[in-house]
Symmetry: C2
Subunit: 310 residues, 2 copies
């Protein structure tokens, strides 16, 4: 069975919670390793609502320090502690967050019983180029600067590339010893007893292309992102407003649904999810329709929705 690579929406609204829409948070599941992306107020309740085991979260990515993207973090960290967590946690975030969290822990006279390591993103704004900020056996994460009122990072999640599969049926034909297989999976050719060289490409089946997920919020539209986002499997791009409020979007460094769809089109992504909806929209149909006029493969980030990348 192919390992999982999915994104579940925990909250999709902008600053004001409204119409039962919560502030931003998403859970990326890569092969049952959990990565939390942003953590608005109430995220821990949303994790419970959708039956997601919060202790599986190993890394938390915080795009920027507007409250609707992190006010739920301190409560989640506390709950990890109360639930007996010992496993380390990594937080990828602007440096200012560390002091905010520590001040609140100090005020409670408490100490978490698990270690937190921080990876700060403040340097990401130095150039347009994406920079590797995190990697493990499952995923590689690059951060890149968005255009907002405060330092804000987008994130590109890329499945760790698997080694190619060895064609086991050739073992007997070429008398390949087991000890040679790891080398072959890493690219070696094989020389048979009679000196014949079997090219690596004939011995292996290439692994599938790593799946990718890009997360872009909050931001004004940034056309140059298309180079970097090219061919991404799934793109989440904020769409706070419709075109009717384009000037408001510009003024507040947000995007319209159409602008999000244009980025998706230029980037030739497979699917677009729009979110971070303004509290002024009671229903979201107008935003969806506007995006689909430009980019048909658009979906709304509605709470609880699960986007699985095959």
């Amino acid at each position: 069975m192919e390992p999982l690579f999915s994104v579940q929406i925990l909250g999709s609204n902008s600053a004001l919670p409204a119409y039962n829409r919560h502030p931003t948070s998403q859970l990326l599941n890569v092969n049952n390793q959990y990565y939390l992306i942003d953590c608005g107020e109430g995220t821990q309740m949303q994790l419970r609502r959708y039956g997601l085991k919060m202790q599986r979260i190993k890394v938390i990515f915080i795009s920027h320090l507007h409250g609707d993207h992190y006010f739920g973090l301190i409560g989640l960290l506390n709950s990890f502690h109360l639930l007996g967590r010992k496993a380390g946690l990594t937080i990828v975030c602007p440096e200012g967050l560390k002091q905010i969290l520590e001040l609140q822990m100090d005020a409670a006279n408490g100490k978490l019983q698990y270690p937190i390591s921080y990876i700060f993103t403040d340097h990401i704004g130095d150039s347009h180029e994406p920079k590797l900020v995190f990697s493990d056996n499952h995923v590689k994460v690059e951060a890149f600067p968005l255009k907002h009122r405060v330092l804000c990072c987008g994130f590109m999640f890329k499945e760790t590339k698997k080694l190619p599969a060895f064609k086991a049926e050739l073992m007997e034909r070429y008398k390949i010893p087991i000890a040679a297989i790891p080398g072959i999976k890493h690219g070696d050719d094989f020389e048979t007893e009679d000196g014949q060289v079997i090219s690596n490409k004939d011995l292996t089946i290439p692994s599938p292309e790593p799946r990718t997920y890009a997360y872009c919020t909050d931001t004004a539209p940034l056309p140059h992102l298309s180079d970097f986002l090219k061919g991404v499997n799934l793109l989440y791009h904020e769409a706070t407003f419709t075109e009717e409020l384009r000037s408001r979007a510009k003024q507040t460094f947000h995007s319209t649904a159409k602008q999000a769809a244009e980025i998706a089109l230029q980037s030739e992504v497979r699917q677009l999810i729009i979110g971070h909806f303004s509290a002024r929209y009671k229903t979201l149909e107008a935003l969806l329709q506007e995006a689909r006029e430009t980019f048909e493969q658009t979906e709304l980030a509605e709470e609880g929705m699960l986007f699985e990348i095959q």
Copy 2:
């Protein structure tokens, strides 16, 4: 119609949200003036859920700086701002909270467009005596120290005593001029033209006794509170555990349902609400039953419940 004096439960669980129970928050409504007591994560969503107009909140009381009592505050302050609030807000809290809030506002590069004044409670721990911390035309609030792992205040809310009513039907009989009425309401006797002195008590109808609400969480049981709580209309007292976990309660500076009921009994309060339930209790029947064995007029603080004091 008698003015309102009611308490609505927005959250009643202890540190871990569980079984759809939220962390602590309550709304006191005195004559349609709103006073918020504690503000756990998700309080702003709870206010919306119960259709309570959040901009009516004029004062927020924070008992102590454990997260389940204040992690929802920064989000609420932000939402006030986004909803266009201009009216001032008063926060009664330990001093440490100010820095926590300001650090988060600074990180967002933002400034609230309404003023906040703080009343700090750090000195409350200096003695057992309740101290007046806030009063306005509707309510007078005294704070008193509880016994917890960090500085923690209980609060006593007492309706502002109304002036007695003047018996208007006596105006003609004694030829009382309108100008004399305010003095009579403040306690003056009245001397008629022929020198007869009419005693104030014959001219007025005493106002009803001010209604009272006392809020005691988080705390180990404090028997000396009974003197101060004597005859309170409504007492909220924490009951984190049942007697089975009495030693756990002692160790963590919390109370059992029985201990809460004992305080209510000794204080001769009219009604007791228990809350701040441990996440280990899936249902709350055992806690209620335990408290009622000692003090029959006990209710559970269940979310959304409205306790009106007549």
